[in-house]
Symmetry: C2
Subunit: 219 residues, 2 copies
DNA sequence: TAAAATCTGTTGAATTTTCAACAAAATGGA
DNA sequence: TCCATTTTGTTGAAAATTCAACAGATTTTA
């Protein structure tokens, strides 16, 4: 477990918790680590909303599939970030999404009940943990706001431009990489892939952006 | 303040807190109550992310306007519900939305810093309050999931049907009222109002739904 | 390394949405 | 109650998206 020390320090769930306390707490919480191959479903829709996940290495995508087979990507979760934390906390019995390993992953799993039900041993850290969890979920809410800001736009072009501005702001640079390939970006923006390719080409021709694969530059 | 007792008991933020403790706590938190006329902006985009609001009477809408003037309705907040709680908790300095009184409203305002920074007087309730806040924000995340589930659909008809199913499930009945008029529903579904009217008419003709103003029945 | 599989950009046709305009119905205020 | 305003449903034209199909480029894997 110690070997994940560096990455766990970056996890917002453990902000302000000292390393010694952290590992004692993880032990108390019954945290486990599992590895997943690329494209493997870490959680599937309908699974019990029991565990929260922390990405130790690799990255995962949160996916929603509707009954017509349309894939919708809700978000991309990078290393040190938490996922599936809102479902158990909100009292859902099952999770409404699928979580897919985007590449080979190591994932820490913690039973959410161990966080929500205060135990007698380590209450000092426990309240801090719940506070951190609250902040983490609040940040996720903001990320959903941003996603809605993107997909509420009516045209493919506006969705794309809004998304690229957001990514540029996040990277604090006009030059940045996105975590999606074309089909995935289309599934995030909720548009047709071929129409998306057309818009990217147009924006390039108009001298508004530069692009090569996953790398974009705003001009 | 006592006259709001009945409604405050329903507020998820105060779950499990006794009435006496509640009013002592509200006093400690410096909670105030303000009235707003219909269509008045309780918060405007760019305001400091300082206060959380609780709807004591009336209802409010969370609105996002883009630079093209498209109005997007994020959610409708009914009485006893909390709003604007995620922004301060996530560490935003300003709020990215506008909150409009949908009808004459009484709103309780609480400085979020008073919740986030533990004071020495009432720590016992304070941790409970933060726990409740965490749950409340988690539920809001789920509500955003549902909104994304709706607007990720590609056609007006699918968006409408998905929304109506959600409302039916929420009301636990095939017969229910929605909190929006036609233009507002269009702004929530992110579609054109006239196109929405057409789809509602079609679904009625096809015998799939019944509808009169804000009342819908799934057949 | 070569073959297989996946990813990306392009095109044209079909479908859908948006937009503007209008009239009927419903609502609110004097 | 009556008039003014707002809301709603309908229509046709313009614009945009989706869909299917394909070829070139890239990546994977055997």
């Amino acid at each position: 477990m110690k070997k994940y020390s560096r990455i766990l320090k970056k996890c917002p769930l453990f902000d302000g918790i000292e390393e010694d306390d952290l590992f004692r707490m993880l032990n108390c919480l019954g945290a486990t680590v599992k590895s997943f191959d690329k494209k493997y479903a870490i959680f599937a829709e309908g699974d019990p909303a029991k565990y929260i996940g922390i990405v130790l290495s690799g990255s995962v995508q949160i996916i929603q599939n509707d009954y017509y087979g349309n894939r919708s990507i809700l978000s991309s979760i990078e290393s040190a970030q938490v996922f599936a934390e809102a479902f158990a906390c909100a009292g859902l019995s099952t999770i409404p999404v699928t979580v897919i390993a985007n590449e080979p992953c190591e994932i820490m799993l913690i039973d959410c009940n161990h966080i929500l039900q205060v135990c007698s041993n380590n209450c000092k850290f426990h309240n801090k943990l719940i506070f951190n969890l609250m902040k983490d979920i609040a940040v996720k809410t903001i990320i959903f706001h941003q996603k809605i800001d993107v997909i509420s736009k009516r045209s493919t072009r506006e969705k794309l431009v809004t998304y690229l501005f957001q990514q540029s702001k996040k990277a604090q640079s006009d030059s940045f990489d996105i975590p999606f390939n074309r089909q995935e970006l289309a599934d995030y923006l909720e548009v047709d892939r071929s129409g998306l390719s057309v818009e990217i080409s147009k924006l390039k021709k108009e001298g508004i952006i530069n692009n090569q694969k996953r790398h974009f530059v705003l001009l």
